[in-house]
Subunit: 232 residues, 2 copies
């Protein structure tokens, strides 16, 4: 994949800003062979990373395992589990002005990981899971948090769930998309998003993930700059 040309200087709204971005799924191993996974391809996050680079940002990408081509960014950290992603984010976030969490992080992981492949003959099996750390909430709860943008993949009540997450996790923005339908979202080349912030929202209709990423990057840059211009 060839990187787009940088935008004209006047449009490089994030010149010099360091952005930490998570992308892809996490995998939570049950044993050396099996895992709990999710359908994130990483494509939306990677497209957004490229769009942010094109606005002049220095992007640090923390990504779960995908087969999508990695974007050209300043630094890539490849992880597998939610715990690994949490550790990488906490190590990097101090130097970043913006944090964008596009990764589909597993909410839960198996309580124990078996060293050997589990031998199972029973008709039923119970799997005990425990909650993973909430990376987004932990970043937003820092003493001096970066401008923080979350993502929400919802199958129902999009606005209600997204606004609840925006408030509960003290985010600056949240980009929400409807999943489970015929078009858009995980494993598709196009997507639609509704972006929410405290006193507003913006609908980005169904389009290619590349184009959508460009529009979302512009929105993030605009609000980030507005945020910094306004006295707290």
């Amino acid at each position: 994949e060839i990187a787009e040309a940088l935008r004209p200087q006047a449009e490089r709204l994030l010149m010099g800003a360091r952005v930490l971005l998570t992308a892809g799924p996490t995998r939570e191993p049950l044993d050396p062979v099996r895992y709990l996974g999710n359908r994130s391809s990483g494509r939306m996050g990677y497209a957004l990373a490229s769009a942010l680079v094109n606005l002049g940002a220095q992007v640090v990408l923390v990504t779960g395992p995908t087969v999508s081509p990695l974007p050209r960014v300043s630094k890539v950290i490849q992880v597998e589990t939610a715990l690994e992603m949490h550790r990488a984010v906490m190590n990097e976030v101090g130097e970043c002005a913006i944090f964008v969490a596009t990764a589909a992080v597993a909410d839960y992981r198996p309580m124990e990981i078996a060293t050997h492949k589990i031998k199972k003959d029973a008709a039923e099996l119970t799997l005990h899971l425990i909650r993973n750390p909430d990376i987004l909430a932990d970043v937003a709860a820092l003493k001096a948090p970066p401008f923080t943008v979350g993502f929400a993949a919802e199958t129902e009540n999009l606005e209600q769930h997204a606004r609840a997450k925006l408030t509960a996790k003290k985010l600056n923005m949240i980009a929400a998309n409807q999943v489970g339908g015929e078009r858009g979202g995980f494993e598709h080349d196009e997507n639609a998003l509704t972006v929410f912030w405290r006193d507003g929202q913006c609908g980005l209709p169904m389009m290619s993930k590349t184009q959508l990423a460009r529009e979302l990057a512009d929105l993030i840059a605009e609000h980030y700059r507005g945020h910094h211009a306004t006295p707290a």
Copy 2:
């Protein structure tokens, strides 16, 4: 990937034989986003499918979701879950002389699949799973079963587990490999196998999956022909 040239006629030991082969992982959905998966890339199975085609076989491939390039075979059926794979195999097996089960089929699936993304706030979560049908055992238990070859990925006691499976499931052959080590197996380009049958075994040392597939295909062809030559 370019298919190898067919072997000389004298070596085409499976000329006209119809072979049913499963490959890849299965995915067992928990909800529209999450699933239970495993690390099978499908590469070993696809390489074996190509090697069998090169021995003159007509191969019907039933495969779970992978990103590996599909081999050139007579027919490809793409499935996601163990139940879908079971159904496809049972539909096709009647017309096949040989069945080779390389797929890493999930032993268990979630008892219920949530239509909507599960909202979870608890610190712990219990997942209830039920056993999937055993495709290999169901095929071997048919009234007129095909010549049946199983695979076993083991992290310990390779021979013991493989021989137990050979007997319990009434297989003709089983190819076992050690997983969880530094080299070979899932997600690697090379592998080593030990192949067991009732009164013998053969070790195939670490080599490329393509070369290994060729040697395994030869072993299968040889034993299939011997099996048919011997009165029951």
